[in-house]
């Protein structure tokens, strides 16, 4: 019912400026962005911020609770684990793994996904059919299970976990890229441009790219949060990062046996995962609303 009407003479802000204005209105998204920047700081400057080496064992300080509790000491802000390692330092270094690994995962998935999606979108018949069927099947296998199978074949460990999670995330990218390309190629102005003899590169930068970017950005944020959770889950199952690596999921699987003796070694790493994923999802929601004003009316 409502129609936005803009006077011709009022300056219309640029595409990105508009985007930022809409994004800023989202309180949750701004909060998420702030948290994410802090976590990013932790990841980038771990050696500066962490008071101890993440694997150093202080054998006279086993299972010290966090500093704010009665028995805690300031030396170990978030307490120590059953081997006397400083939990704060482990979490700080863990952020490096969490963000770094998932960035690698998303990069691989996006690269292959866009490539396959473009092939599927620009081709017809058997190639497109084969690609899309394979993607459907990958989607049909629960993501963690598929990662587990891949790890079963190529063996546990960090690099393999990255490949596994990346493969699981590829189909979403393929679908988005293919759908957008198909949709754009059928639009009148693209057909007109083609008839005018516009070449592939020009078509790509002028009509495909601007339309594909928004959903792609949203998908990247979704993939990012999935990657973090899945890498942590694999670590937790003992199939990803191996101890004494301070990967958050791995820390959780290590402290599982001490859940009653040292509950903070369970609550704190999990909280770190939750906050990170939550921040990314908040940013993702904000991006989606800001990129697609039609959707943000809800």
């Amino acid at each position: 019912m409502s129609e936005v009407k803009i006077y011709k003479d009022t300056p219309i802000p640029g595409r990105w400026q508009q985007f930022w204005q809409r994004y800023r209105r989202h309180k949750g998204a701004m909060l998420g962005l702030m948290f994410l920047l802090v976590i990013l700081m932790f990841a980038l400057f771990s050696p500066l911020l962490a008071p101890h080496d993440p694997t150093e064992q202080f054998s006279q300080f086993l299972r010290y609770p966090p500093a704010w509790t009665e028995k805690g000491i300031n030396e170990f802000l978030l307490g120590t684990d059953d081997l006397g390692r400083d939990l704060f330092s482990r979490i700080v270094y863990g952020s490096r793994l969490s963000l770094g690994l998932s960035a690698a995962v998303v990069l691989i998935a996006a690269l292959f996904g866009i490539l396959l999606g473009a092939i599927a979108g620009l081709s017809k018949g058997i190639i497109e059919f084969a690609i899309m069927r394979i993607m459907d099947i990958i989607l049909a296998v629960p993501s963690l299970l598929l990662a587990i199978v891949i790890i079963a074949i190529i063996g546990p460990g960090l690099p393999n976990a990255i490949y596994a999670v990346a493969i699981v995330l590829i189909p979403h990218f393929v679908r988005i890229v293919r759908a957008t390309i198909k949709e754009e190629m059928n639009k009148d102005y693209v057909i007109a441009a083609k008839l005018d003899g516009a070449n592939g590169a020009r078509l790509f930068t002028h009509s495909i790219l601007p339309n594909i970017l928004p959903p792609l950005i949203v998908q990247v944020s979704l993939a990012f949060s999935t990657a973090i959770v899945d890498i942590a889950a694999l670590g937790f199952l003992g199939l990803g990062a191996q101890p004494p690596n301070p990967e958050w999921g791995t820390i959780l699987s290590q402290s599982r046996d001490f859940i009653q003796l040292a509950p903070w070694t369970v609550t704190i790493p999990g909280l770190a995962i939750l906050i990170t994923v939550l921040s990314i999802n908040l940013v993702g929601d904000g991006l989606r609303d800001a990129l697609d004003p039609m959707e943000s009316r809800g």
């Binding site: 889950a233 199952l237 929601d285």
Partner: protein, 339 residues
């Protein structure tokens, strides 16, 4: 209708073909001697070994091998676990009911509370109720399941002592597996334990199913909310209001009936999410289901079980998705042919 069913069946058959092809290709990638992987430690060159080579068609072309592979699957022969030496199919069906029961209850919880919360938020848009639903569903959606399970165990089982830590039922009860669903089987044992076994099974089920339901519940609540907000803005809602239809009926009949249409697809997608969650939930709660079985199979390098198990799970998900597509066609009148 028949047309749609037929199309779904074709899709199912195609997916079957695709899955077996991919899995067959994957088996080629498994490192090591395929005979030893599938039949255990046979001495190469021995009679049994050669028999196995022949049975798997390893002495024939790759295409022949694939045909044998598909043929075996169609006969329900997924090989034998190289740890327990039992047929994989029967192993699967001893673990599957536990997963099915857990997932079913979790789905019900997610569906009922997710839809309720979503509708409530849409109706009370921009109020504190809406904000509460939005923020808690965002947290739920971001929840690492394995940690959430441990937290709840810490709180309800260890600190408060309200629920058991692990398993499906206490050892004091000796329940005969009839359906494999503990809630049903414990009721069937009514003559022995009256309701005691049932309530015990329920107490075991509550935490795992809550943990498993969390992410899908949040996803369903978010989707229901946005779908419902869109529907409530439609002209036909104004028509219904102008006719004097009660508010209750407008929301739950005119509104939800339409909002459910896009929701069904999302709920279908959640089946895959749910099974991923089941793997973690079962591991944490020592729930003897397919997920835990799979994880253990990996640590034991029990390849026949992994292959067979994942294949069956994939079939299950594809079957659920096909059913959901069918349901979509049933509840969406626009899918019917115009006359």
């Amino acid at each position: 209708m028949i047309r749609i069913i037929f199309r779904q069946l074709t899709t199912l058959a195609l997916s079957f073909l695709g899955i077996t092809l991919i899995f067959f290709a994957l088996t080629q990638l498994i490192p090591g001697d395929p005979v030893i992987i599938n039949y255990g430690n046979l001495t190469p060159g021995s009679e049994e070994y050669l028999a196995a080579v022949h049975a798997m068609g390893l002495d024939q072309s790759l295409f022949q091998q694939y045909l044998i592979y598909v043929d075996n699957i169609l006969h329900g022969d997924l090989g034998r676990s190289n740890i327990t030496n039992k047929p994989v199919l029967s192993e699967f069906f001893t673990f599957f009911p536990a997963t099915f029961e857990l997932s079913l209850i979790a789905t019900l919880i997610a569906l009922i509370f997710g839809v309720l919360a979503g509708v409530l938020a849409a109706v009370k848009k921009n109020t504190w109720v809406d904000n509460l639903v939005i923020s808690s569903s965002l947290v739920g959606y971001s929840m690492p399941v394995f940690w959430w399970g441990m937290l709840l165990i810490l709180l309800f089982s260890l600190n408060l002592g309200l629920t058991p830590v692990a398993g499906r039922i206490s050892y004091v009860f000796d329940i005969e597996p009839v359906t494999g669903l503990m809630l049903v089987d414990s009721l069937l044992a009514y003559s022995k334990y009256e309701f005691a076994a049932f309530f015990d099974a329920l107490r075991h089920l509550i935490l795992p199913s809550l943990v498993l339901a969390t992410v899908p519940l949040a996803a369903i609540a978010r989707m229901t909310r946005s779908s419902m907000i869109e529907v409530l803005n439609a002209d036909y809602i104004l028509t219904a209001q102008s006719k004097g239809v009660s508010r209750w009926k407008i929301i739950w009949v005119h509104g939800l009936r339409n909002a459910m249409i896009p929701l069904v697809t999302v709920i279908g997608l959640q089946s895959s999410v749910l099974l991923t969650g089941a793997i973690l939930t079962e591991t944490i709660f020592a729930w003897p289901g397919v997920g835990k079985w799979m994880v253990e199979a990996i640590f034991r390098r029990d390849f026949p079980s992994i292959q067979g198990g994942v294949l069956l799970i994939a079939f299950f998900v594809i079957f659920i998705n096909a059913s959901v597509d069918l349901l979509y066609a049933v509840i969406n009148p626009r899918m019917r042919r115009p006359k």
